[in-house]
Subunit: 333 residues, 4 copies
């Protein structure tokens, strides 16, 4: 029973149907009928004109988004547990050509104005120190916490007042929208977000993510950078079709709702074992090595997070049977 | 009737079936059952132990292959009409971190030992000039010509004698194998090729290409570079499954055979209009602007190549009806 | 008797005196009294407000200038014999993070509007091809020809009409000013030049070159890039002092005048052997291998340029005796 | 009275004399008589065959040294207060093409095996996390502490056991040699150091630093990288001559001895105000804002280090009068 990540779940059947439907002749790259619908679909969703590009990975989405906000000689303020710092193999340096990640501490991978201000205060304004050009936050965070619309807006204000861009790694943006109850617009551009990596692969997609540019004029450059990173697929319609299928009838929201909901019984069962409040679809539990071994022996699959912690992640297609079994197992530890 | 490129054709039904079959829980990234089969499948095909990695674009395959052969401060000798020079938006510079493409002239985008030797002779051996580290050739070339196994071997010998790596952009490797009748092994590593971009997207795939490393020890570094370029998809099984489906029962060969075969009646009809002999699935024809307009008016879709030339490309799924019609139309110009 | 290059000549005594005079305590980097005078000194010389930065090599000046005009994903149009293409080991790719040099043919390394237009016409306006962002010319060229103020202005107009920046590699700008009789302003910003590498090392300097930014707002970024490339020396006053010494009393002009003048008797002696007209301080002569050997045997030092040509360069301190001897030797071949 | 840095001191008269003596015709770049002596001079000094290259800044020396040890996709373990992290504007990312600095905590910018082991333990061995390829330490550190030969050797052993290269930023290597009493060999290659930035500019040089490669076979690549970063000066003899002058008669040692000695009376006067023991030529003192203002008012120039600390640095040419006055002033605070 898989709880190790939502990134290995199956694609939603509607996504496969959409690929099959798109499997006919059309223009190559992103000139096809499906790709051309993305800007409009996301502009509707976000209630403002946006440009939307498909890519195949969250890493590509994040790094293109960062390169749009930060020159090679600039810095990007982010949490030291951010995916871009910890799990992207240095990809931001490739796409930005060497921009520096300026790291924040703090629990749960959440970024706060206080943390950012502290970092800013520590940087001399001269040519010897890398000057920040952007802030990047993750929502929901790598530890399953959410930034509320108000929290994002506070960061957006701070960013604006310092002339910094604001990027949101939304690999689990859907889960954050569901968790906060905020509209996509309120949780992004209305709160000052300039670029959003809008994840679909963890939420029922096969291999399509969306990069949303809230300043549409950024697109010309980002389109070049996408090609230049080898990320312009010739049959782009097969990616666009996936995204459109997930937007259709708010399938992305119902998928995320299911994932978040599956986490709740586990959170209730875990009680004091929880390292962080469970706000989306990730749980971090304190367990002994022996307890972890017992869960594994019962057929539950998860990450050992080190330091006596394990990580559990629920997915859009998490079956309730396995959730109930795991909840019971946790209680009985 | 589409003749503008083979890169916009539909995916083969077997490929879609394979994706559907792979759409279930498995390990993320490339640890899944399908991805783990690639090394073996290609080692069998090439009759030698190889490492094989999926990527989603030919540009990514090419550039990872080049980065494996050339340091940032080195040069890569290629034809000035090579895809890596003309149509990849400078991606080789991103992946290699600035290696220089050293360009050759000559008809039909074919690379010959004479051309390479000429380039080598023009480079002073000092720190002021970029020193070559690799040769890159395309097979079949961007103009539909093939390098025979013997021709590749001559380049392989030359490369070895100068300490240069040899990369083959095989976006249409299948078409070259069919056209030359050479075995995959004879056309690649036995002829000195170190890294091969083995194209599937133009040949019935959906969005999976293979990068073949004939020196398996190169893989550790290339795997890191793939991740670092944002090209490590989390549901990699959906790419591996495509490739395995095309290898199965030599579907890749029958697809390429169909594409090449569709070009022949057109070549026969074109006669003296042909700019190059038609060896694979691309045709370049001399036509007047008026003649081009007439073909367009008849519903044929193709690229205007400038200088009074048009490019026609046939695909694995080219229907014979449209081929016959186009052949007739060309004859009647 | 040295005729192989002007870049190995001695520094002018006034330059050494200036270094000695500057060898006392002052602020580090470029905050010292000498460095602070550069903007003013060059603004006076160019009759417009400029920012002027010292660097230690022409390669650094050129590449910082290019990075100011072209993003990593852009292209720079230049001659295939340009120093930035031929003799800087790929440095432009380091400083620009991968911008592409788009090469022009044509005699004598001169760039003309026709050549540039031809290159522009060959580039499709899409994301697959690298789009040009700048033009770089060398004045005097690598073959000792000069671009007149009118010729530069024609390129400046073309650049502006296509939204391209214009860089001038002026490693021998002084020789070009002397040769053309144009004012520094007319030969640079009034003709549309945005960034100028103003060479001093070949003209009596020890190890200081100047990078002139005619759009002063470019400086903030370039100052960061200079530091980031390891080119911000802590005792910058020792560089600024050299430049100020050469600007003083137009020493840079008298030095260049001397160098150009020393070339004339040689040009007269060479007659039909000249490959190009001698407009500055470089001569390219057609000689047989035997003739070259005889010149060497007589103690003249020069570069074998291949293809039956040799290169002679005269310097600011060329002694007339050696010039007379070489002129006689050439005549007697 | 200057105590803000040793990097703005005057050059030693012997250095200027050497420049003047070298100011005559010779081969360009590094083929001249002076440059050719460097390998031998440093091989003698280090009692082993080394390659030695001049560069003009410590940043260039450090970054070339790092690029020789770490690929673009690798990581370099260093202290978070290291100059390469804090004060080089991201230059390591330029020269290495994006390698990541992996930061250690700990007092006084000293690197210990425990700190390095802690960092290594925190890195998963997979393609998602940047893998370390090198360790970089500074000696004397940015806070004026020294790593003894035994301390360096412990790091060297650790590096070797993990397959990591070891770089020493020796901007104040001379001060460390004097402070530890260790031989240059014992403090570097015998302790496992692979590449050493050997500083001269802070120790009486004008604008020449040396990069020492203890694995001579590294030189071919580093020479290319130096040129490619715009750091190959055409009149290199003027740099080599400076270094040779400082090596001559151990002038570098007597200069460093003078600088270190000048710090001692200040350290004695500072007593409990010292943040770190004074081992070389830097002092960090706890002072109130009012006390700092009083020192400034008395004509002493130094850096406000924030958090109630000031930094004082003594130089090779520190006059004893100003030292005595400052010592008295500190005592009387």
């Amino acid at each position: 029973m898989r709880f190790f990540s939502d990134n290995a779940a199956a694609a939603h059947p509607a996504v496969l149907d959409a690929i099959i439907a798109a499997n006919r002749l059309d223009t190559a790259y992103d000139g096809d009928a499906w790709s051309l619908k993305l800007d409009g679909a996301f502009s509707d969703l976000f209630e403002t004109p946006v440009r939307a590009l498909w890519v195949t990975t969250g890493t590509a989405a994040n790094c293109l988004a960062l390169a749009a906000l930060c020159p090679p000689y600039g810095g990007i303020i982010c949490h030291r547990d951010a995916h871009i710092e910890v799990d992207e193999a240095g990809a931001p340096a490739v796409f930005t050509h060497g921009a520096k990640l300026i790291l924040l501490d703090g629990p749960g991978a959440k970024v706060t104005p206080e943390l950012v201000t502290g970092a800013l205060d520590g940087i001399r304004k001269d040519v010897h120190q890398v000057q920040p050009h952007a802030i990047s936050i993750t929502n929901a965070t790598e530890y399953g916490l959410v930034h509320s619309a108000a929290e994002v807006a506070a960061l957006g204000d701070l960013a604006k007042s310092h002339g910094l861009g604001l990027h949101m790694d939304g690999a689990r943006f859907a889960n954050a929208v569901v968790a906060t109850g905020a509209s996509p617009a309120d949780l992004s551009w209305r709160a000052g977000v300039d670029t959003l990596s809008f994840g679909f692969v963890k939420n029922g997609g096969l291999n399509a993510e969306a990069l949303i540019l809230f300043k549409p004029e950024m697109a010309d450059e980002v389109l070049v950078r996408r090609k230049r990173a080898g990320h312009l697929l010739s049959k782009g319609r097969m990616l666009a079709a996936q995204i459109l299928a997930l937007l259709d009838n708010d399938l992305w929201l119902s998928n995320a709702r299911a994932a978040n909901a599956a986490a709740r019984p586990l959170a209730a069962a875990a009680g004091d074992r929880l390292v962080y409040p469970v706000e989306a679809n990730e749980l971090f539990l304190r367990v002994t090595a022996d307890e972890a071994a017992r869960l594994l022996a019962l057929g539950f699959d998860f990450y050992d997070w080190g330091s006596g912690q394990i990580r559990l992640v629920t997915s859009w297609d998490q079956d309730s049977g396995s959730v109930d079994k795991l909840a019971a197992a946790i209680k009985s530890l």
